[in-house]
Symmetry: C2
C-alpha cells in the first residue's frame, strides 16, 4: 500500500479506494510522482513495441498515440481494472523528437544540442476504462502537457562525465531533471513533474472530474 | 561522504575536495539539493535569532539580510572553513512576506490566500569566507533568486486535510512543492529548486567562478 499522500485527492479517498488503478509504465519516475497522489495502484508493463514512425507525427500527437497504444495493450491484459494510466514523454528541439539515446556518443551529441537554449518536454497521458466483457477499452481522458526548459551552457568535458555516470541512458533527451542533471537546468516554465515524465497536477484534476462524473 | 553527483562541478572535483564547506541551515530540503552537487559539506545550525523587522525590507532584501546574518554567525563558529553557505527563503504575495505559519489556522489562511493565483518565492544566498585570524568574514558572493508559482484553485476541505497532515507547518508559505503539496502547483516559472529552498543552478555557477578566480 502506498503511503497516504493525497492533497488534491484526499477528500475523495473512500471513492478512490474502491477502484483498481493500473499504471502502464515501468518508469520509476512515474511511479514516484503517482505515489504523491496517495493512489493505490499496480504497475503492469506494456508489451506495445513503441515502433511508430516519428516522421508521421508532431511531438504532441506522437506522445498521445504512444500513450494510447501502451494503455490499450495493458487494458487487454487487465480487463477488470477501473482505470489504466498510459503515458509517454519526449523532448522536442527545432521540431525534432528526441527520445532515449542509443548509446553514449548519441547521449553526448543530444545533450550538446540542448546547451544554452530552450527546448520543450511533451508528455501524453491517456486514461482508459477496460471492458470486462472483452470489447474495446473506452478512452475517458487524453491530454498532452508541454513544459519549456532552459539549459545552461555545457562544455563537452562536463557532459562526457555526466554520460559516463550513466544517468542519461534511460531518459528522453538524455537528462534527468530530478537527479544529477538538476544543476544543468536554469529554469522551467510549466509543470516540473511533466519534465520528470508525468504531469501530476493535470492528472489529479482529471481524476477529480472523472469521480464527479461517476466515470470511475 | 556524500554520493558522487556533480554534473556541473565534476571536472573541478580535485579542487573542491581540498575545501571545507559548511551549510548554515538545518533545512532537510537544502541538504538534499546541495547533495546533488556532489559537494562534501557539514551542517552547522545558525544561532541568529531571525528577528529582523520585516516592515523595513523588500522580500529580496529581507532574504538577503537573513542569509547574511545566518552565514556570519556560523562563520564566527567555524573560522577554519573554506566557505560558509547561508540561505533564506520566503513567499511574497501582494508585497507581503509570508514565512512559516504560526499554527494550523494560520497555515489554512495562508494557503487559501494563495489559491488560484501566482505568487513569488525568493531565496537569498550568501557565500562567506571566514577569517581564521578572528576578523570579519569576507562576502564572496550574494544573490537572490525569484521563481513564480501558479497555484490551483483550492477548496477549504482539501486545504484543512493538507494542514492536518502536518507538512505545511515548517515551510515558508505553508506548502512543500516536493511533497504532498506537489499536486497543488499548476506551473512554475524559473528555478524549481529555488521553490524548495535553494537555487541549485545559480549556486553551481557561482562556485565554478569562485574556483576559477581562486577565491576558494
Amino acid at each position: 500500500l502506498v503511503k497516504c499522500r493525497k492533497t488534491m485527492l484526499r477528500s475523495l479517498q473512500s471513492q478512490l479506494s474502491r477502484s483498481k488503478f493500473i499504471l502502464a509504465s515501468t518508469s520509476p519516475r512515474r511511479k514516484e510522482i503517482l505515489e504523491k497522489t496517495g493512489l493505490t495502484f499496480d504497475i503492469v508493463p506494456s508489451l506495445f513495441p513503441e515502433d511508430l514512425d516519428k516522421s508521421q507525427f508532431t511531438p504532441a500527437s506522437y506522445v498521445q498515440e504512444n500513450a494510447l497504444c501502451k494503455a490499450k495493450e495493458v487494458a487487454a491484459q487487465c480487463r477488470n481494472a477501473s482505470l489504466i494510466i498510459g503515458a509517454d514523454t519526449v523532448v522536442e528541439l527545432d521540431g525534432q523528437i528526441l527520445e532515449k539515446p542509443n548509446d553514449k556518443t548519441h547521449a553526448v551529441q543530444m545533450l550538446m544540442s540542448l546547451s544554452n537554449r530552450k527546448h520543450n518536454v511533451f508528455t501524453g497521458v491517456v486514461l482508459l476504462r477496460p471492458d470486462p466483457a472483452g470489447g474495446e477499452a473506452i478512452v475517458l481522458r487524453k491530454f498532452v502537457e508541454c513544459t519549456e526548459v532552459l539549459m545552461t551552457t555545457f562544455n563537452e568535458e562536463m557532459i562526457r562525465a555526466y554520460v559516463d555516470g550513466g544517468e542519461p541512458m534511460d531518459k528522453s533527451g538524455s537528462y534527468g531533471i530530478q537527479g544529477e542533471g538538476a544543476s544543468l537546468v536554469e529554469s522551467v516554465t510549466g509543470c516540473y513533474f511533466n519534465v520528470m515524465g508525468f504531469p501530476l497536477h493535470r492528472f489529479c484534476k482529471h481524476l477529480v472530474s472523472l469521480l464527479e462524473e461517476k466515470e470511475i
